[in-house]
């Protein structure tokens, strides 16, 4: 009997000695888990997801078993094939108290490419996101353990709230502007979104007062825009400051949702006020007649408030787009603070008037004659606007475009 127990005793003694005598003899990763076993992602676009890892580490018998738990990269796997790698390393120092388990939390945010979601849907399997964590404390073999979470392409009701794409332009479609001081300018952001939530951000500008040195951005206006079910959203900025001569920068910075791509910014250069009449923006003119809904006839009285500096006024009638109106646009919003005093003439921009009348500055009301109205077919809608010109021919004032019906 003594001889049979001898090998077991020897094993026990050797192991105990190793545990007691070797510095930090055993500090191993016991488990790697995530707080969410399944995370939904968008099926029709890239998704930004947040994964929280919980790594359980056992401290060794030594008084202190410090080490660094790290993971160099994560991989996105579909059907056993690695399709993409997240190169961002994760690392945390663990003090390693003796014989105690430590829980280390790692949180990371990354983008799942649409191509990976596509493969998963076509294969009918979820995406496996895997990371391997390694303990730096020297052990034999090195302590290393992998953990996974599943990313499942889902519908718009549960897809993560994301902005996957942002495109910035100025309101004329360009991406760089040179314009005289005081001219009106807006930026337009088109966002591709997924999921549900409230876009929270702000329009920011770095005026020429800072870009002569180091650009310093300040907030121009807050932006709040709901998104439901993921859809394209267009957000127009308030009027951008164009009183600081020089190089100015504008961007839309998002607080929520978080975006991982570099947020774009635009530049516009403000030159001194232009002496050329066509390069100045008009002031808004107030129209006092006719009221909305008044038909266009020989008795229709057009009247407006006089504008100082006006040499003449020109009443113009434009054709409205033919046919009934299009579907109501619900995905576009204009940031209206600070307010824009510019007259809204977007509907007639670039159009040639069909007819109208020019009167001297002393005249602030007219009725159109029959030979003028004969240019306009009946039973149609038109748009009209009054503009004021100074002696140099510059348009110094303009009323917003209004619709009118001719029987």
């Amino acid at each position: 009997m003594k001889l049979r127990f001898l090998p077991l005793a020897l094993v026990f003694l050797v192991t105990a000695s190793a545990l007691l005598l070797a510095p930090g003899a055993f500090a191993g990763i016991l488990s790697v888990d995530t707080t969410q076993a399944r995370i939904p992602v968008s099926s029709v676009g890239p998704s930004t997801v947040t994964v929280t890892w919980q790594v359980l580490r056992l401290g060794g018998s030594a008084p202190s078993n410090p080490g660094t738990i790290s993971s160099p990269s994560g991989t996105l796997i579909v059907n056993g094939t690695v399709l993409a790698t997240n190169q961002r390393p994760l690392s945390r120092f663990a003090p390693g108290p003796p014989a105690t388990t430590e829980s280390l939390i790692f949180t990371e945010t990354f983008t799942v490419p649409q191509a990976v979601a596509f493969r998963a849907i076509k294969s009918g399997v979820p995406i496996v996101y895997q990371r391997t964590f390694t303990d730096s404390l020297p052990t034999t073999p090195p302590s290393s353990l992998s953990g996974t979470t599943l990313l499942t392409p889902s519908g718009p009701g549960s897809a993560p709230f994301n902005v996957s794409r942002m495109e910035l332009r100025f309101d004329d479609g360009s991406r760089f502007k040179v314009l005289p001081k005081g001219r009106r300018l807006r930026a337009v952001a088109r966002l591709n979104t997924s999921g549900n939530g409230l876009i929270r951000g702000q329009w920011e500008i770095a005026t020429a007062a800072t870009t002569a040195g180091t650009p310093v951005f300040r907030t121009l206006a807050l932006v709040r825009r709901p998104v439901a079910g993921g859809r394209p959203v267009t957000i127009t900025s308030p009027p951008l400051p164009t009183r600081f001569e020089g190089n100015n920068l504008v961007r839309l910075r998002l607080d929520d949702p978080e975006v991982l791509f570099d947020e774009p910014q635009l530049q516009y250069y403000v030159t001194p006020e232009s002496p050329l009449p066509q390069r100045r923006d008009p002031q808004p003119m107030l129209v006092t007649s006719p009221s909305l809904g008044t038909p266009l006839t020989l008795t229709t009285r057009f009247s407006w408030q006089a504008l100082p500096g006006a040499h003449l006024y020109k009443l113009e009638i434009f054709g409205a787009p033919p046919g009934p109106g299009d579907n109501v646009a619900t995905n576009e919003v204009v940031t209206d603070v600070p307010l824009d005093r510019a007259p809204n003439v977007e509907s007639v921009r670039g159009l040639t008037p069909l007819t109208g009348i020019v009167v001297p500055a002393a005249v602030t009301e007219v009725r159109l004659q029959d030979f003028t109205l004969e240019h306009l077919p009946g039973d149609r809608r038109y748009e009209w606007s009054v503009k004021a010109l100074d002696k140099e021919g510059a348009v110094i004032g303009r009323s917003p475009a209004r619709e009118i019906y001719k029987p």
Binding site: G157, F176, G197, D370
Partner: protein, 698 residues
């Protein structure tokens, strides 16, 4: 010449428009037809001025070979024409009544164009009001306004500016640049043309001594440019565009595609047939590293679009359009933030847009198909073929009807869209895929009220994949405005409340999962999003104001995410104080609450802009103050900032004359946080600047 009110309000007979000669052309020959109705009655209670039934005005020839843009236009009347007729005459220039700017001098009517005429063709018409109220066209001429005898249109405009800045004070800047920096920018446009052709070019440049603020990583470069050429004959037209542009093609496979490239166009002059071909970069470009942007096969799309109006009698009512494209590239570049992935794809679309019943009914339909390689060329799955269609019917049933004396406009419509799950196009990155949407909408405008209502029913998972869940999204959107008519006071001014306006906008989105994924049966969705915005304001002669409040709420009925609520209020105004001061104050207050965690945060943004003209055309100042204050959970440091500029103009810039100015400019920003150990961070920079500017016009 007076306008004759009695004639305008009396019995009107049908107009008599003598036939015009077909060869109107670009000459100054009179093409008057003779009046065929003898005018019997005089107007305005004056002694009867017998209209001579047969008199022909002539257009006086110009002293020079070509007519200038501001040259007076002289109409010669017969010497024996009864002067009483003069008061019945009116003159139209380009169909605009300019009678108030016509002088009568010894049987001559001198028309001084109230606006400088553009080069090109203009029309001049002389009309006479007959005694019976009829309108007689006595003369019609086409005027050719030219830059010179050699060429009709020629213009060059440029706006150039630059400055040298010296920083004389700074604080809190981590890595300040050099003390002396320079920057310059300019834009130039040139055009030339004649009767049948026109060419134009425009572009801009930027220079900045700080390379980080240059274009495309260079100190100096051109940014965007565009060159257009057009040729037109009586029967056809042709043209091209090179540079940064949007071809205007708008359908399911191509929309809003503003990129650098080349497009060609041609067609019939009557628009019954037009063809556009294009080759454009997929990447948004600026600078000159890629001048045309189409040299790289892996970064471009190419295709064409054809529009046909097949029926001559209905050429304004039926348009058929076919478009196709093919290409490869990534969706990124200047001004775009995204994960730039290179894909390959192609697609085609065919659409019909029609108007019926005197434009009261619109029927529009489109079908498109795309092939798109989502997971990369030569790897994974093959390119995915997908379809989409859109049909719309909209009707204006009671056009011209009145309600209580005011005309009302009422439109109703229905639209049905279906876009397959994997429908995607390189030339339309904004398209929302994977949806079947049925939409009903109405638009109403009457007197001082306008309203819009839209109801959508939308489901996803169009391809009906078992692996994907199917969600239903019901949207209701309403927008209403009330703009009361305000009668001016006796002195012509507005009452104390100005011209007010009121608005309300509301939306409601309800999403629920009607079919769960077979792979993830526990993955559920059921949530509601609501928002309501109330707005009001008023306009005055020299100031206006605007106030709005928005309430937003999100409820997740399956607790996947937090319920949230947000309240936002915005108030802004604009004041013009005489001609020397403008003020633009604004304030925004925002409160966001996470109802599940109890977190909330508030934001307060105060802005005040002021522009001061101290000495007209010599000394002016611009100041801009901003306060950004945040509180609550997720707090970030507050900032106070002031940007300012004072400019002394030494020499006023004028056309083709250099302007010189000096300026003092700068900013100061104070950053505070609310932690126990407050840490002030004061940043400021101050500069003196020498500025040069040169507006060019020819």
């Amino acid at each position: 010449m007076r306008e004759c009110r009695r004639g305008a309000q009396g019995i009107r007979h049908s107009f008599v428009l003598p036939g015009r000669k077909a060869a109107r052309g670009y000459s100054t020959r009179s093409t008057t037809g003779l009046a065929t109705i003898f005018l019997a009655l005089a107007l305005c209670g004056a002694p009867p001025a017998l209209a001579q039934g047969d008199w022909v005005p002539e257009l006086e020839a110009t002293p020079s070979e070509s007519r200038g843009r501001s040259d007076p236009i002289v109409i010669l009347l017969p010497a024996d024409l009864d002067p009483a007729i003069y008061q019945n005459l009116a003159v139209e220039l380009d169909d605009i009544d300019v009678t108030a700017f016509v002088l009568v001098e010894n049987a001559r009517l001198v028309v001084t164009p109230p606006e400088t005429l553009s080069t090109g063709s203009h029309s001049l018409r002389l009309v006479e009001r007959g005694g019976d109220g009829s309108i007689l066209e006595r003369g019609y001429w086409s005027l050719d306004v030219r830059h010179s005898e050699l060429i009709r249109d020629l213009s060059v405009n440029a706006n150039l500016a630059g400055e040298v800045n010296t920083r004389f004070a700074e604080n809190g800047i981590d890595t300040p640049p050099q003390h002396v920096t320079g920057e310059s920018a300019g834009t130039a446009e040139a055009s030339a043309g004649d009767e049948h052709w026109r060419i134009s070019a425009q572009g801009s440049y930027l220079y900045n001594s700080q390379i980080d603020l240059g274009i495309d990583g260079r100190n100096f470069d051109f940014s965007e440019y565009r060159i257009d050429g057009d040729y037109e004959q009586d029967s056809f037209f042709a043209g091209f565009t090179a540079g940064d542009h949007d071809t205007g093609i708008d359908n399911l496979i191509m929309s809003g595609f503003y990129r650098r490239g080349v497009s060609l166009r041609t067609g019939l002059a009557d628009d019954r047939l037009s063809v556009t071909g294009f080759v454009q970069s997929t990447e948004a470009l600026v600078g000159t590293r890629h001048e045309l942007g189409i040299s790289r096969n892996e970064e471009r799309v190419e295709g064409a679009s054809v529009s046909v109006r097949p029926i001559e009698a209905l050429k304004d009512n039926i348009v058929l359009t076919g478009t196709f494209y093919t290409g490869e590239g990534g969706d990124g570049g200047f001004g775009i933030g995204s994960d730039e992935v290179v894909n390959e794809g192609d697609g085609w679309s065919i659409a019909a847009d029609t108007l019926w019943f005197d434009e009261a009914l619109r029927l529009r339909g489109e079908y498109a198909q795309t092939n798109f390689d989502f997971d990369g060329k030569d790897q994974g799955f093959d390119a995915e073929t997908a379809d989409a269609y859109s049909v719309l019917a909209s009707l204006e049933p009671l056009r011209g009807a009145t309600l209580d004396g005011s005309v009302f406009t009422w439109t109703i419509g229905v639209q049905r869209d279906q876009v397959d799950t994997f429908f995607s196009s390189l030339a339309n990155p904004y398209l929302e895929p994977d949806r079947e949407t049925t939409s009903v909408y109405t638009d109403f405008l009457w007197d001082e009220f306008s309203a819009q209502l839209r109801v959508d029913h939308q489901v996803n998972n169009v391809d009906d994949l078992d692996y994907l869940p199917t969600d239903r999204n019901i949207n209701i959107y309403f927008n209403g405005n009330y703009t009361p008519y305000i009668e001016p006071l006796e002195d012509g001014s507005l009452p104390w409340y100005g011209q007010p306006f009121f608005g309300i906008s509301a939306s409601w989105y309800e999403i629920d999962r009607i079919d769960k994924s077979q792979d993830s049966p526990n993955d559920d969705a059921n949530n509601s999003t609501r928002s309501l915005t109330l707005s009001t304001g008023a306009n005055y002669e020299t100031w206006n104001w605007n106030l709005s409040h928005t309430i937003y709420s999100f409820e997740d009925h399956v607790d996947l995410s937090s319920d949230t609520r947000n309240n936002s209020t915005g108030l802004s105004a604009y004041f013009l104080v005489d001609d020397w001061l403008t003020l633009q104050p604004s304030v925004q207050w925002d409160n966001f609450e996470d109802l599940d965690t109890g977190d909330d945060n508030q934001s307060l943004l105060l802005n005040l802009g002021a522009n001061v003209t101290v000495i007209p055309e010599t000394l002016d100042a611009t100041l801009y103050y901003s306060l950004n204050h945040r509180m609550g959970d997720g707090d970030t440091p507050d900032t106070n900032s002031l940007n300012g500029e004072v400019v002394w103009t030494l020499r006023q810039a004028d056309v083709n004359r250099l302007g010189i100015a000096v300026a003092v400019t700068g900013h100061i920003q104070d950053t505070n946080d609310d932690f126990d150990n407050p840490e002030d961070d004061l940043q400021y920079q101050a500069f003196t600047s020498l500025r040069l500017s040169l507006p060019v016009a020819y």
